[in-house]
């Protein structure tokens, strides 16, 4: 990790720089820290220090701490700046702090190299107030085998955990079994234990399962923990100050750094790996099941393969399963469940969505899943049970649909190919219909209010029709008449009546003559009078005057046609 620290100073001119570097101690053990300090005199620009080279050997647990110093000697002012870091060794042996490049503006200065001798941690726990214990269940494993590492903190003085730096396990798949991050640590979380006759309070800090992914020998990082303690000041150990009542005065607070022992794990490769190995290492058993033993053709069912046991469940890939022909298979979800009681065992379920395309009885045979058993140091096989199911013919879909599904090989329900009744999108027909209907309705609504006008108009229309009808009717009656002199007055009366010139058809001949004077021209009136006189004579005589009746009929028709134009 690259850590570049930029330190801003107040002034920008460079006068002269002198760089010194130091470490607080050259000989420490694994749990102790050193303070690495760089001091620069007369610095007034922004220095940059890159500590990247340190990362392989040390962990930086505090810093950079910046200090300033100003001195006046015989009226001359001088200043210096110091930057310091607290470092913890990552491994034992001879560790080197290489020369560090310090950039000050455009200038580059270098610190000197330090050699730190790191010895193994003092194992005499009885002399310690604080202990950070690490436990590993095995150190010689094969790829994929589960290793459980747990960290426990013991104390017999009042202490408070300020920070913890959990190790990162490169080349390992990690599953946290216990992680206190975000949980409240209360007095009940601590347990009482006795070590070598001393009473300690113990707290489980962290537990993790790691699964090696590669072959080799790996050194695991240590856990680093910063603790604040309250301890008794020996200078108060006299007279009444020793009384518990005055504890507040006789205690002082200090920060301590605890580092867990480094661990080394040897990982061997798996040998004679079976052909269909899917990565399982541990102890397992396999079961299989189907959601429904009677399935309708074309309707999906779920086939579940469940692997129970303890081991690297999350590292096992989906096994290859051979399903019967005419069954479409789609990979479903994978569900991993951890056992709450021990956290190292659990189950993994692989779901397969099956869509049967043909009716009949089907069988999914025994599935064999090879796994390596670290306990017995050999390969074993988890075998599932056989699963039988029946597919019955679909009642929903016809043959055409089924064949289409087959050809497309899809999970969805069919393509539809029958001729379509196309609907016009956003058709305006509605708008036209709505408008037309509305207008019609409106007319029907307002029509009764114009009843009288409607009546008048109707009468006029009827009258007009009657008038047109009168001449036709008169002509027809004249032609059909056997005696025009007898029928003539009636025909004329009906004609005038239909023409709305008289109020009734039942008047006598004299009345017609009088009424006709009002609307007939003279020549027509003369003809009418002559004709009516002839008719009258016929009425009162036994002599038949109908000899020239055809001529009379023609004359009468001509007369009526003539008066029809103006009456």
């Amino acid at each position: 990790m690259v850590r570049i620290f930029i330190i801003y100073l107040l002034f920008s001119n460079i006068f002269s720089q002198e760089l010194t570097s130091s470490v607080s101690s050259n000989e420490i053990n694994l749990t102790e820290s050193i303070i690495y300090t760089i001091k620069i005199n007369d610095i007034e620009v922004n220095p940059e220090v890159n500590l990247e080279k340190l990362e392989n050997s040390f962990s930086i647990i505090a810093g950079p701490n910046i200090g300033s110093e100003y001195r006046y000697v015989n009226g001359e002012r001088s200043s210096s700046r110091s930057i310091s870091w607290t470092l913890i060794p990552k491994k034992q042996g001879k560790l080197i702090i290489p020369p560090m490049e310090v950039k000050i503006g455009n200038d580059r200065l270098f610190t000197k190299e330090f050699e730190i001798q790191v010895s193994k941690q003092d194992i005499d726990k009885s002399t310690k107030d604080l202990i950070l214990e690490v436990k590993i269940d095995k150190t010689d494993v094969v790829i994929g085998e589960q290793i459980v590492i747990s960290y426990k903190f013991y104390t017999r003085i009042a202490s408070k955990v300020i920070s913890t730096e959990f190790p990162k396990y490169k080349n390992f798949w990690t599953e946290k079994l216990f992680d206190p991050t975000g949980t409240q640590i209360n007095p009940e979380s601590w347990e009482d234990v006795e070590i070598d006759g001393y009473n300690y309070k113990a707290l489980k800090l962290y537990e993790v399962s790691i699964f090696p992914l590669e072959e080799g020998v790996f050194e695991l990082d240590s856990m680093i923990m910063k603790v604040e303690t309250k301890e008794k000041d020996p200078s108060f150990n006299r007279l009444f100050w020793n009384d518990p009542f005055f504890d507040t005065f006789s205690q002082y607070t200090s920060a301590r750094i605890l580092v867990s022992d480094p661990l080394t794990v040897k990982v061997s490769s798996l040998k004679n790996i079976p052909e269909n190995f899917s990565g399982a290492v541990g102890s397992f058993n396999l079961t299989s099941s189907i959601s429904d033993e009677k399935i309708e053709e074309g309707i999906p069912a779920i086939f579940t393969l469940k692997l129970n046991g303890s081991g690297n469940l999350k590292n096992i890939s989906r096994p290859q399963v051979t399903f019967p022909e005419k069954i479409e298979v789609f990979e479903g979800e994978t569900i991993i469940e951890k056992n709450i009681s021990d956290k190292s065992s659990g189950s993994i379920q692989w779901k397969y969505n099956l869509i049967p395309r043909k009716s009949g009885n089907f069988k999914v045979g025994t599935i064999s899943l090879p796994y390596y058993s670290p306990k017995f140091k050999k390969w074993s096989y988890a075998l599932s049970n056989e699963v039988n199911f029946e597919v019955y013919e679909s009642t929903l879909f016809d043959d055409k649909d089924k064949s289409l599904v087959d050809s497309s090989g899809s999970a969805l329900k069919f393509i539809r190919m029958q001729p379509q009744k196309w609907i016009k999108i956003a058709s305006n027909n509605y708008n036209k219909s709505i408008l037309s209907l509305f207008i019609l309705s409106f007319i029907f609504i307002i029509l009764p209010f114009f009843k009288n006008t409607f009546k008048i108009m109707t009468n006029r229309i009827l009258n007009s029709l009657d008038r047109k009808k009168s001449i036709k009717l008169a002509k027809k009656n004249i032609r059909n008449s056997k005696s025009i002199l007898i029928d003539g007055p009636k025909i004329i009366l009906r004609f005038f009546y239909l023409k709305k010139k008289i109020h009734s058809e039942n008047f006598d001949i004299t009345f017609i003559k009088d009424e006709a004077k009002k609307f007939l021209k003279n020549e027509d009136l003369i003809f009418l009078n002559d004709f009516l006189d002839k008719c009258k004579e016929q009425t009162f005589s036994n002599v038949n005057y109908d000899n020239g009746s055809d001529d009379l009929k023609i004359e009468l028709i001509k007369f009526l046609e003539r008066i029809d134009s103006y009456v």
């Binding site: 969805l412 539809r416 190919m417 196309w422 219909s433 029907f444």
Partner: protein, 246 residues
């Protein structure tokens, strides 16, 4: 002259429908050959020509499903369900699609609300107005007949029609208000960001929506839509990332 004009119009309509049928057949052929990109484009062409049908939406939705364009697929199924709300196959495919949508957020099921939703969504506002005008027409005709014939039975009938007319007018208003408050769109981009204001600025990006999610539109501009999701998030998304369900 009018007769001739009418015949020409009829012929044109027949020719056009035949073209649409040909397009539909072509799209189906592409579908069977699993050329879903081609089939979806051809089905879309029919929509562009201004014609639609339940089966067209079903096939189009399936094509998009296989192309993993879940947003467009959902749009197609929902449009299909607007035409045929109880089509079992459409509902089946729709349910299957929903399971494939990433981070899908659906409102809880409510039978009564669903029934109202289906009822109101199945008919357009025009259809509601049309039915109202039909009732108005029958009512006015009956009123007219009563004024002329003075038959009591017609009077009773016209009162019944009047009640139906009032109910229908209320339905029109309900539909109008429903449409205004229930405008939904489907996200058709793989991912679209929700912004707290209608500006393309990463600093105001509040969350993300995924392809196939359905959101409610509160207001809209030319380029932006103010939306709210079923889990209560609110914000603005770009109109280019969605497809309208109108």
């Amino acid at each position: 002259m009018f007769k001739l004009f009418f015949i020409i119009i009829q012929l044109q309509a027949i020719v056009l429908t035949q073209d649409i049928d040909t397009l539909f057949d072509l799209a189906n052929e592409s579908y069977i050959k699993k050329n879903f990109l081609e089939s979806s484009k051809t089905y879309e062409l029919i929509l562009k020509e201004g014609y639609h049908s339940t089966d067209l939406y079903m096939n189009l939705g399936n094509s998009y499903y296989f192309l993993e364009e879940f947003g467009n697929s959902r749009w197609s199924y929902e449009m299909g369900m607007k035409l045929s709300p109880f089509d079992k196959d459409l509902i089946y495919n729709y349910d299957k699609l929903i399971k494939s949508v990433t981070n899908v957020i659906e409102p809880p099921k409510n039978n009564l609300l669903d029934f109202i939703k289906i009822f109101l969504q199945s008919f357009s506002l025009n259809m509601f107005v049309f039915s109202t005008v039909c009732f108005f027409f029958i009512f006015s005709f009956l009123t007219f007949l009563y004024k002329i014939l003075k038959v009591n039975f017609i009077k009773v009938l016209s009162y019944i029609l009047l009640s139906l007319l009032v109910v229908n007018i209320l339905l029109v208003f309900t539909k109008k208000v429903w449409d205004q408050n229930n405008k939904f769109v489907i996200v058709i981009k793989d991912e679209t960001s929700i912004f707290s204001a209608p500006y393309l600025n990463n600093s105001i990006q509040s969350s993300t929506l995924y392809d196939g999610n359905k959101v409610k539109v509160n207001q809209e501009t030319n380029l932006w839509l103010e939306i709210s999701t079923f889990d209560g998030r609110k914000g603005w998304i770009r109109t280019e990332d969605i497809r309208n369900l109108d």
